[in-house]
């Protein structure tokens, strides 16, 4: 364990250098959560249309085709994909860290995190592999579910997010999708087994990272040029903000949205705002870069609870070998 001096981090005038993430491989889980080393589960973004709102995000909760997450999947599919890539190219990747994007999000959010987390790391051939401490996470989640006292179960509220993804994506570009398919999205069975994952190379504070993470949808089309910017879309749901407290919480959430999207190079975050009963009311678009800029601009106004450079600098420090060697001892 080590101590985070948020004040020191906040006062910092420089930010650890970062390099734009570039996708070099991808994989899909199909509807049965079987791994496929291709982009077959890629989705296109097409939001519910004005006349379809408000939409009940709870519709179909009883038929939810839910992924059984009681098993620790470790880094398996990420490593399989990397191995496949290395075979194809005949070259080993140059990353010093390999992990799921989610781990990095946690590291970045740690300066503002009250919950805490545990991770395990392994060094192999000069590369550090990091994964979540499964037991710690499972215990923590069980506690949270158990203590939940809201009128709507936390499972159902989780479903809202998946439902929104179903309502806001189509399996082919809009031009190739039939009206019927688009209009029947509300009747589709929600499935969270199916995923598209992007595997990127990026640099943070001079350290080369290889991150894998799910991306929800693509805005238009995936460019053919390798490494080119990709118009990914991150889909989120959040409660409509009615009070200052709501606004504060939403800003907090924005930090997570931003960190997640920043790490995979997702430029657009789409937030579906819902009421307390899970009715989707409106949809708003955020630019990842502009959240970052806005936070910087409002540095001194105190409206925003977090600072992007605090997140970046902190994650960079954590990845520094010193801290790691300290931890491994």
């Amino acid at each position: 364990r080590f101590f985070i001096d948020v004040n020191r981090l906040t006062a910092a005038t420089t930010q650890a250098p970062v390099k734009r993430p570039r996708e070099f491989a991808c994989f899909s889980y199909d509807k049965n959560h079987n791994l496929r080393l291709d982009d077959s589960s890629l989705k296109w973004y097409y939001p519910p249309q004005a006349h379809e709102l408000p939409a009940n995000l709870s519709t179909g909760f009883d038929k939810f085709d839910k992924h059984d997450n009681s098993q620790d999947e470790h880094l398996d599919s990420l490593l399989t994909t990397i191995a496949h890539h290395e075979q194809q190219t005949g070259e080993a990747i140059d990353a010093k860290f390999v992990t799921w994007r989610g781990m990095m999000t946690k590291l970045m959010g740690a300066p503002y995190d009250e919950d805490g987390f545990e991770m395990n790391a392994t060094i192999f051939q000069d590369c550090i592999f990091i994964e979540e401490n499964w037991d710690f996470k499972a215990t923590r989640e069980a506690e949270q579910h158990g203590s939940w006292k809201g009128p709507i179960s936390s499972q159902q509220m989780q479903f809202w997010g998946y439902k929104f993804e179903t309502l806001a994506t189509i399996p082919r570009p809009w031009g190739e999708t039939s009206r019927e398919e688009i209009e029947n999205r509300d009747k589709e069975i929600v499935n969270n087994k199916e995923q598209y994952c992007s595997v990127v190379r990026s640099e943070l504070g001079g350290k080369v990272l290889c991150l894998g993470g799910e991306v929800d949808a693509i805005w238009d089309y995936k460019p053919k040029t390798p490494g080119a910017k990709i118009d990914w879309v991150e889909l989120k749901t959040s409660k409509v903000t009615q009070s200052n407290r709501d606004q504060f919480n939403f800003n907090r959430k924005l930090m997570k949205f931003w960190a997640q999207s920043f790490l995979l190079g997702v430029p657009r975050i789409i937030v579906g705002f819902r009421d307390k009963d899970g009715m989707l009311l409106n949809i708003e678009e955020y630019s990842t870069q502009k959240i970052d800029e806005q936070v910087r601009r409002e540095h001194n106004s105190g409206n925003w609870a977090w600072r992007p450079w605090v997140c970046i600098n902190f994650a960079s420090e954590v990845l520094d070998c010193k801290l790691f060697s300290f931890r491994f001892n």
Partner: protein, 902 residues
Amino acid sequence: MGIPAAFRWLSTKYPKIISPVIEDQPIIMDDGTVIPVDTTKPNPNGEEFDNLYLDMNGIVHPCSHPEDRPAPKDEEEMMVEIFKYTDRVVNMVRPRKLLMIAVDGVAPRAKMNQQRSRRFRAARDAKEKEEDKQQLLKMLQKDKKSTMQVQPVEEVVQKAFDSNSITPGTPFMDILAASLRYWCSYKLNTDPAWAKMKVIISDATIPGEGEHKIMEFVRSQRNSQGHDPNTRHVIYGLDADLIMLGLATHEPHFRVLREDVFAQDSRPRLCKLCGQKGHDAANCRGEAKEKEGEFDEKDKAAPLKPFIWLHVNIFREYLAVELNVPGLPFTFDLERAIDDWVFMCFFVGNDFLPHLPALEIRENGIDTLVAIWKDNLPHMGGYLTKDGHVDLERAQLIMAGLAKQEDAIFRRRKETEDRREAGFKRRKLQQEKQQQRNGKGQQDSPSYRKSRGPPPETFAAASMNLISVSSIPKPAAHSITHDMVVNRQAVDQANVANKSAASVLKSQIQSLMAKPKEQAPAPAAEEPKEPTTEETQPKSPPSALGKRKAELITESDANSPAASSGVETPASGEEEATDTVRLWEEGYADRYYEQKFKVDPKDVEFRHKVARAYVEGLAWVLMYYFQGCPSWEWFYPYHYAPFAADFVDLGKMTINFDKGRISRPFEQLMSVLPAASRHAIPEVFHDLMTNEDSEIIDFYPEEFDIDLNGKKMAWQGIALLPFIEMPRLLKAMEPKQKLLSEEDRARNEPGKEVLIISDAHPVYEDITAKFYSKKPVGEKISLDTKLSEGLSGTVEKMEGYVPHGELRYPLERHTFPDVDFDRSLSVHYEFPTSSHIHKSQLLRGVKLSPPVLDRSDIEILKGKGRNAGRSFGGVPLNNNYNRNGGRGDRINYGPGGGNNRN
């Protein structure tokens, strides 16, 4: 809805859809040098535009017979006019990404029938005009032989360009295509505002009407990846229905650009005979134009006609309010409602079908339909149309709703007309008294004394003739003529106007000449005299009333004084074609089918057959607008529409279209042109049109009837031309095809779209590297939408083109220069093809403009909407109870809904 009244109706009902175009003008320095507008600067309209589409026939036609100038004397002069006009329009819009120029190519068969009717009429009118001119000339010669020498008519009265040449397959269209390609390349070389603009030219060799080729392009782009959903589109054209097409794309950032038809025209009118200024037709001496100034270029004082925007986004706001039906069992989808609305507009008028007798745009026929639609929507279970397909069962409900009030509509129409007629007669009487007084007074007026005019009596008679022609207080005539001036229909009828002027003049002269010689007027062109009524009345020309008057003169004994009194008589009594159908009296349907269709009034099945053909037509038009031409061969095979009541069991119908064969240009020419315009067709075919023994001579009648069909104006009537039977036409043409010259044969072949870009454009390198490097990748490639800035499609190497070669000016006189080092690239271009159909949905990422309508606009519209379309009630003729049906309580036109329901 190519009808002129449509535009007026739209702009009255939805006033905010129109706003003026702000246009920067070139600065003219004291020394005469002109500083052109720098169109790389921000658009003065406060908004930038990406794509400009030109429905090019809307430029070519007006340039071929301008209102305010003599017609161009040859094709080169006309091309230069076209360049000028196009340049002005492009500078107004300043498109930053794309310019598409679309010229009408061969049309679907359904359209050809209308073209045929227009062109046959134009030819007939031109012939009459020519006869008038010849006669006039003879009279002038007789009259003036002692004092002056009259020049041969051909030198003086410029030979009118035959607008019938503006049809695919003519040599003129070849010249036009070559000229447009040259000019766009020239602009790409010389105008910095064009550097980043892609130019697509779809000339007459590519099948399809111009505006529909544009729509196909827009649909193809929005269905493709890389399209920016916030592309700002502008379409220029004259058709009133471009705004409907704009709505149909479901691209909300869409505008229509056109000349302002309501602008007060302060420019001097030109003589309709010789096309010169300074006198009117009545005083035309047929003299050669006098040069004004050294270069005869003093016309610049005339202000340019202003342009207006029609905003599709604001129109969408209006429709969102107007069409909203609360409490539906399904959610209200504006996009679908808009499609239904566009569909219903077709009932009221379109280029492919005669409109339903009960629906007149001027009687707010669209409101009637909207009321029916709103009442039925909750029962229909969904919308009337979907992505260009009609739900026939639902269409039946709409027709049934209309049928409920059809009788009442006809009856009210008659009542209104009678009232109008009575009022008109009263006013006319007053006016005649007034004119008699004025006529006497005029002798002493200073302006009269100044002109060395005719003796008092004669002058008064002559001026009265003119007054009575142009000032006939015809209700609604004002709006019609207004619109017609800029509508294509009007252009097609320019000859009508000319004819009327010539005829009137002829009759004047004839009556004057009947008097003793010394009393004959010496036409005064020396001094600009007080303008006559004809001049001051803006845009009176296409008053077909005038034409009909003129015909009357020609028919009556021209030398008798009765001729002039005939002219004075307004549109009443004697020239009214007796309407023997009498829609306002019971039994009208029997009479209609008996007289118009020549079928037994008891043959009800025939009526249903006509109605089915009509529904097929509606389905065809809808597809044509939303998905592209569903059949190139389909057409409505009657001259008349059925009644709403004749539509039965539509739900049991199935409609399928067969794509069919696209006509070749010469087949179209043979289908639409009269023999008089055969100069536009290769000579080998002339025989078929002129020889009495030709097996298809029946297709080319010189005389044909025009059935007024209850209307007042000749141009509103129906030209009863025989329909072309394609198999017979093709069979007759077949043996002649092999006699065609190489050149003609080439002109009969379908062509390809051309894409022209400057070497300053980011995609230039990419294309030239792929086509012209040492290792070319092929002859045909897909565009990279990143480099092309959103343009999808494939491009193909063009034969004979090399990068940075020479650009040659294609015409004789070198009004424009050759360019030695051509910095533009020309390639063939094909729209991206997709097997998927257009969907009437907004694209993801579209950002709607902030609303323009305020609360009061919305309240006004809602107020209008409350009773709109319900004023006809629903009382059948044979139902005598409740004569007031509909005036009091609101009527419901939904199924089962009767009178007095709320």
